[in-house]
Amino acid sequence: MNKTINNRAWFLVLPVLLLVAMNAIIPLMTVVNYSLQESFIAGFWDWVGTRHYEEVLGSERFHGALIRQFIFTGIILVIEVPLGVAVALAMPKKGVWASVCLVLMALPLLIPWNVVGAIWNIFALPEIGLLGWGLNELGFDYNYTNQPLAAWFTVVLMDVWHWTSLVVLLAYAGLQSIDEAYYRAAKIDGASRWAVFRFIQLPKLRTVLIIAILLRFIDSFMIYTEPFVLTGGGPGNATTFLSIDLVKAAVGEFNLGIAAAMSIIYFLMTLLVCWLFFTLMNNDRERQS
């Protein structure tokens, strides 16, 4: 769509700008302030320059949280995206059953995140939870409260349970937009199922899949409440991801300078990834139009 140049459009954007700026810029500046100073007595601040940043970037603890974060995000993307697309492809296209599927699949997305943690906490308890009991009955020695591997398995499974539906819904919406004529043409040409997927469905899914990967990357990168309720970051530090570590430092240890420096580094990383995806999406859009 060709847009008119109109700088008065700023007035339409102004309320949004003010509200978001109040929530984004003031707190961000507070964090920047904290990160560059040190407070020994309440109200008195000393300028320490980049010392907090150096400390954070050099600390084993931050490296550990960062590595765990990337591994976690990588694993859930590798599972959720293909699984979501597969489910969307197999779903009924229209009718009552499509609605039933959509409603049931969307359900986990609307459960408060602390309740998601609580559900999995109960579900995975070794003695009385269905998952924990079942795995132990099958002969696996499973206890997520003291085995790092079991904790990881549970956290990943919980995230797959919680968020795969987002990918399903996005992919389903993308598939809905494909004209029936393409399928008929493919049928007449005798195209294989794989060819239909590769040359008709996948190109149409491109935009929604970029959105899906972006949202899943970003949201898994800031995951806090669910693993916190489920494992509390444990056993030990096994499931302490970036946000959990950050809140521990800020609220638990009241180490404001360090927490603030962590926040800024963390925020810049998210920003970089955002910018990459945003550019990718815009290029995609311009190519299509």
Partner: protein, 294 residues
């Protein structure tokens, strides 16, 4: 080119056979196809079933051992929650700030999304990107500064504080979704309305908003959803007067020992508002999740 014609010519010759084969193939696959979504839905429902199962048991029975369904069926946990103000006010508080947030987010996002979808203006792309980065900002980064900001505004422990704080990620999301839906409405409609003598506000409310009504519904749904599920900010911005259900749940879990049955019942009750809202938007939900961009 030749290969294609080679196959095309015989296909035209005995097309009924080819077509029959083409029809038969997907039919055979269809019989197994329903398995994938069915298994997936079973996987989704099992933990929820387990929660419901727990909510109808007494704490003693839960701790007593494994059982697939309640042996001594009891609704005590639900009665306790629905009659104890300390419990049910948690739900009311949550619903209040979620509603305020949804109203604010959608009403300020509407004109902004229109501006982004119809006009070019200085800095529009940068502004849009900046808005989106706020959707991506980890709430953990903002917890402490938010507490300070809203304390200094005398808003700490009010519904408005949580509603405004959630604007951080809900407004960008609302603008993003609405912009997608609005870009699907041809521009000629605006131009015709202006020629017919409609003023901008009148056109926007009388003609444009009805056209994107489903988009507005979906946007409201998403604002509701993300405000309802977010707990880190909601919990830290409140202490007593506007305490969300999540805070009630954690506090109960720590003070009264480990009341699993009560906790499970509270969990089940938090799922219900979401389920009701999904039912209303079920036909638009997929397009909404694609942010109107399909």
């Amino acid at each position: 080119m030749t290969a294609r014609e080679d196959t095309a010519i015989p296909a035209a010759g005995n097309s009924p056979a080819i077509l029959a084969r083409a029809e038969a193939k997907p039919a055979r696959r269809l019989r197994l196809k329903w398995l994938v979504p069915t298994l997936y839905i079973i996987f989704l429902m099992l933990p929820i079933y387990w929660l419901i199962n727990m909510s109808f048991k007494t704490t003693n029975e839960i701790l007593g051992g494994f059982s697939a369904y309640p042996q001594n069926f009891t609704t005590d946990s639900y009665v306790e929650i629905l009659t104890n103000p300390a419990w049910y006010w948690g739900y009311i508080n949550s619903l209040i700030y979620v509603t305020i947030n949804t109203v604010i987010s959608v009403s300020v996002a509407l004109p902004a999304a229109y501006a982004f979808s119809r006009y070019k203006f200085v800095g529009d792309k940068h502004l849009f990107f900046w808005l989106l980065t706020n959707r991506m900002a980890p709430p953990a980064v903002f917890v402490l500064p938010f507490v300070e900001l809203y304390s200094s505004m005398q808003l700490f422990d009010t519904h408005l504080a949580v509603a405004l704080a959630h604007c951080l990620f809900n407004i960008p999301l609302a603008v993003w979704i609405l912009e997608g839906f609005m870009s699907g409405v041809p521009k000629e409609i605006d131009e015709t309305a202006y020629i017919d003598g409609y003023s901008f506000p009148k056109f926007f409310v009388k003609i444009f908003m009805p056209l994107i009504a489903s988009g507005i519904g979906v946007t409201a749904f998403f604002c509701f959803m993300f405000s309802w599920v977010e707990m880190l900010l909601a919990k830290n911005l409140t202490t007593v007067a506007a305490k969300p259900i999540a805070a009630v749940m954690t506090r109960t879990a720590s003070t009264s020992g480990y009341e699993l049955g009560l906790l499970a019942a509270a969990g089940v009750l938090t799922i219900i508002p979401g389920a009701i809202v999904i039912y209303f938007v079920r036909n638009y939900i997929a397009k909404g999740f694609a942010l109107g961009r399909v």
